[in-house]
């Protein structure tokens, strides 16, 4: 189970009224390498991973939900006061037609989130390598959004999130090292 803390992992501030940025940020909300995919990937894989690294997947999967909240907050701030005309100018008219300013799990191109974005192969090494790749892709996505954004306060939050992907990747790599270790070896001959 989870306890909920009614605050964000890192403060989110958006200083320029530029709803176009929401169009980019939605990639990290409902995209293939976004925070929803990350959270669901790890919290599902953890059941069939060796006991030594279950806790790591639980912790990182949980943190991804905290990141999802930060992204949601950024998108909400950018779109809650946008008029239909502003949504149209931001290229968000297809989103507006379907959702008004409600958030939805789709990527920057409008494709809805799908479970085919994630995997659970059951082979611990294969699953952890997928997780490492996912973290690197999320890091890259943050880079491309930062490159497109000229809002320094928004970018501050995005740089924090990018750094967390670096740390997560490192932890997953350490998990692989743990599973590579020769343990309990003699017992089974």
């Amino acid at each position: 189970m989870w306890y909920y803390e009614k605050k964000l992992e890192y403060p989110v501030k958006v200083s320029t009224c530029n709803p176009t940025l929401a169009k980019y940020l939605i990639e990290q909300y409902g995209g293939a390498d976004g925070e929803l995919a990350a959270a669901l990937r790890y919290l599902n894989q953890r059941y069939t991973i060796p006991d030594k690294v279950i806790g790591l997947l639980t912790d990182i999967g949980t943190e991804e939900f905290a990141h999802l909240e930060m992204i949601a907050t950024m998108i909400y701030k950018l779109t809650k006061d946008a008029t239909p005309e502003m949504m149209k100018q931001a290229g968000l008219d297809p989103h507006y037609v379907n959702h008004d300013s409600a958030l939805f799990y789709h990527n920057a191109a409008g494709a809805p989130w799908t479970a085919t974005y994630i995997q659970a192969k059951g082979d611990p090494i294969a699953d952890l390598y997928e997780d490492i790749a996912a973290e690197e892709k999320a890091r890259a996505t943050y880079q491309w959004i930062i490159n497109l954004s000229d809002d320094p306060d928004l970018n501050d939050g995005l740089k924090y999130l990018r750094e967390r992907e670096v740390v997560h990747s490192q932890r997953f790599r350490e998990a692989v090292e743990i599973l590579k270790e020769e343990r309990d070896k003699k017992i089974f001959f």
């Binding site: 006991d51 692989v176 001959f189």
Partner: protein
């Protein structure tokens, strides 16, 4: 030489509905440990290499991994 398979003891609940599998295993193929492949490794003779899919014993990963060890369950 590293083992190509590792074993662990998963948590077993007193309330599990089915008889527990006490030891589970997973594959750790040799490429996990090699980093950059060192030059001049020993090679299989060509016919064996063709059959195995690699020139180098150091990269050969038979499956199921021998020696086939029973995943003991008592």
């Amino acid at each position: 030489m590293h083992t190509l398979r590792k074993y662990y003891h998963p948590y077993i609940s007193p309330f599990d509905p089915c008889p527990p599998i006490k030891v589970k295993g997973y594959e750790t193929p040799p490429n996990l440990y090699m980093g950059f492949q060192p030059p001049s490794l020993p090679q299989f003779e060509p016919k064996k290499a063709l059959a195995y899919g690699t020139l180098w014993p150091a990269l050969y990963s038979p499956y199921p991994s021998p020696p086939v060890r029973k995943e003991v369950n008592e």
